[in-house]
Symmetry: C2
Subunit: 124 residues, 2 copies
């Protein structure tokens, strides 16, 4: 069970950041109307507004490098995933450290969607 949780968390993180870095509009497939995002303190709700936010960030290209992924089962069969890593932007010499947490809720067929998403850059 514990290993399965870790595998789901890792698979989700790989999938999420792959989409973010290569096909950002496709992230909409991971959210639902009830989903909530707090991005650097800005609160956004619902798949449409979340997708609009993520696709209008002030950089087109980026690359996420994951440092750590911690996953735990949550109530109602969900999973909380806590990720730390760095964000590389074109033309920027220094990487931006970030932390992000997701609360994944199960859907049919073994899939999960993102109910809670909180993102913060880590200023040193």
């Amino acid at each position: 069970m514990e290993e399965q949780i870790d595998l789901v968390g890792k698979a989700f993180a790989d999938h999420y950041y792959h989409l973010f870095d290569n096909d950002r509009p496709a992230l909409s497939s991971l959210y639902k109307p009830s989903s909530m995002l707090i991005f650097e303190g800005h609160k956004i709700q619902g798949v449409e507004d979340i997708t609009a936010k993520l696709t209008s960030l002030p950089f087109d290209q980026c690359r996420h490098v994951i440092s750590t992924i911690d996953s735990q089962p949550s109530f109602s069969g969900g999973i909380v995933v806590f990720i730390s890593g760095s964000l590389q932007l074109p033309g920027e010499e220094h990487h931006l450290r970030f932390s992000q947490m997701f609360h994944l809720i199960p859907m049919l067929e073994g899939n999960f969607y993102v109910q809670n998403d909180i993102f913060r850059l880590n200023y040193g």
Copy 2:
């Protein structure tokens, strides 16, 4: 509702780190047998083992300084709280940056306990 969630998150964070810095064994009051902690990648479950871990860290005195608190309602009436800040240890010139997330679950009388707790230091 949104403001209430933020108030609960802030009150919890203030309470948690006040206990951590001044009366660490009392943190046991915030966990239950089902609670889970991942501390720097180490998985611990249950109020007894979590309390044993937190009270046996290799420093007696510390001070948490909170930088950001982000809170969202979760399913089943819970709250997810995501905190960033710095940890000051005696004799250490540099502060340690950290990120931590909690999933709080409501109990009777308007109180919450910690079901999920994930802590990571942020290495720059």
